[in-house]
């Protein structure tokens, strides 16, 4: 069995930054990614990112991915395994993975889980009809494979993902008929909402999908307005002739591996589902295991990167590799994280954190 110092599961922004910081500290790192390319969600993001310069704000997600993967390629301490899926974590700390039909067993001293999130679905009649996609799938089709998902789209969900994917669909020459959201207010950033609205796309808050219809695939969607108590208003039904419905109603952390590893988990609504309890050093109740990014609570790539650096530094230090400037960089990353979460947009993150954070001593 292969001995590894730090194993990182997931090559998104959190995993990439964890690898960079752990390797800079001097630890030998193995980075495992189930796809054939690194970057996670970043490689689908053709828009300029928010945040501050330290998290590459103003740079497009895809270009941030290139900056980080170049840094990984130049590090002697990082071994990358692409097309490799971590399957299980056992009680004795052994981890199994599958790569090109080969079953591999490793025993790392520390593991950083950075598996990201999966999309939530929405229940309505015929929601499994061809033409109904998650927003992530639509983005993968368009921005990775260069395939148009259809001609006329109804977007369900006015969070940042729904708004951004609508914009990208319009850029690809696809017609977005409307964006719906059940809540009374637009959840995503209003600058995104305004730039879509001024292209003539209506944003219908307090609306939801009643049903989908079509012969072999989606042809019509019926939507309905909701009252203050979120109940459908009779007679307010509207029909949209669309061949694509794109569902973007939130993400939930991909935390199965953490359940397996016996980490204490908690349902935290603000974080999108079950997340592990963690110390301020991002260590779970299983002392071998750290977390970073969306798996610990749905947030942003900017904070995922900062958490990745923090987890990488802390995990390396816990096995005797202290970054040459540990104090300075650790404080700096913590300040960045605090600043990102300080505003109104970070209200729910701070609320979630107060439920998921534990003291170092209890692990």
């Amino acid at each position: 069995m292969k001995h590894i110092e730090i194993l990182i599961v997931g090559g998104g922004p959190a995993g990439l930054c964890a690898a960079i910081s752990a390797a800079q500290s001097g630890a030998k790192v193995m980075l495992v990614e189930r796809h054939d390319h690194l970057g996670g969600q970043l490689i689908k993001q053709t828009h300029m990112f928010f945040g501050s310069e330290k998290q590459y704000a103003g740079t497009r997600g895809i270009d941030i991915s290139t900056i980080l993967t170049d840094e990984i390629a130049n590090s002697e301490n990082i071994e990358v395994l692409n097309n490799a899926t971590v399957l299980a974590i056992y009680e004795d700390g052994v981890i199994t993975l599958e790569q090109n039909h080969k079953y591999i067993k490793v025993k790392p001293e520390r593991v950083i889980i950075a598996t990201g999130a999966s999309e939530k679905s929405l229940a309505f009649p015929n929601n499994d009809m061809p033409g109904i996609y998650g927003a992530g799938a639509v983005q993968t089709l368009m921005n990775i494979h260069g395939v148009k998902p259809g001609h006329n789209v109804l977007m369900v969900g006015a969070g940042n993902i729904g708004l951004i994917v609508s914009y990208q669909l319009m850029q690809a020459g696809v017609n977005v008929k409307a964006i719906l959201d059940a809540s009374p207010k637009i959840g995503g950033y209003l600058v995104h909402a305004s730039k879509i609205r001024r292209m003539g796309i209506p944003i219908l808050t307090r609306h939801t999908v009643l049903k989908a219809d079509g012969k072999d695939s989606l042809e019509h969607a019926t939507v309905v307005e909701l009252d203050e108590r979120w109940q459908p208003i009779p007679g307010s039904e509207k029909e949209f002739d669309v061949d694509v419905m794109c569902v973007s109603v939130g993400l939930s952390p991909l935390s199965e591996l953490l359940f397996q590893a016996g980490c204490e988990m908690k349902m935290v609504r603000e974080f999108g589902g079950y997340v592990p309890l963690r110390t301020e050093h991002l260590r779970t109740t299983n002392p071998q295991i750290y977390i970073a990014g969306d798996v610990g609570g749905i947030e942003e790539a900017s904070s995922a990167m900062v958490e990745g650096h923090l987890a990488g530094l802390a995990a390396a230090k816990s096995i005797g590799y202290e970054h040459p400037e540990f104090e300075r960089v650790y404080v700096d990353y913590n300040e960045q994280l605090e600043a990102l979460r300080a505003g109104h947009a970070g209200d729910h993150i701070r609320a979630g954190m107060s439920k998921a954070l534990i003291k170092e001593a209890s692990c």
Binding site: F49, S52, Q171, V191, H344
Partner: protein, 162 residues
């Protein structure tokens, strides 16, 4: 209104415009960013400090219109595409708008394209004066348009039909 439809109110639009006195002095940036979000490239890209450096990354942009010279750096650096530069002194009857535009086909100089308002509704045809798409703009081209002064507060977007 903005929070439920994405359309800023007239008061919000008015609040982001400089005084007529400043408009008469030439190009100036209009920043339409009304929500506290963790974002600051407008301030960090402005070399003149006209967008006052943020204390907190969630600050709303605070632009000193007297210090701004309309250089347009912020126009293509803002990820929210929330900024445009207008020159009220362009001619007796027309004002120019520099807006970010991330769609293909790009218009060509001399074309007439559809001018749209903040709801995406057609206002009038507008003339394309300039199309800038330099490396520094990093795939957010900036289009300069001549627009009738009557649409000063309503013009916001274009549609290119080729």
């Amino acid at each position: 209104m903005l929070e439920t439809t994405g359309i800023p109110s007239l008061e919000q639009v008015n609040s982001s415009f400089p005084s007529m006195e400043r408009l008469m002095q030439g190009p100036v940036a209009i920043v339409e960013c009304f929500q506290r979000i963790p974002c600051n490239p407008c301030a960090t890209s402005c070399k003149r400090g006209a967008i006052v450096p943020f204390e907190d990354i969630n600050d709303l942009p605070n632009i000193k219109h007297e210090t701004c010279n309309g250089c347009s750096l912020c126009v293509f650096n803002c990820p929210g595409l929330a900024i445009m530069v207008i020159d009220y002194t362009y001619s007796e009857t027309e004002v120019t708008f520099k807006i970010p535009y991330e769609f293909i086909p790009l218009p060509s100089e001399g074309d007439f394209v559809q001018g749209l308002d903040r709801e995406g509704q057609y206002l009038c045809d507008v003339k394309v004066l300039k199309v800038q798409n330099t490396k520094a703009m990093d795939r957010t081209p900036v289009i300069t348009l001549a627009v009738d002064k009557a649409y000063l507060k309503t013009f916001r977007n274009i549609k290119v039909v080729k």
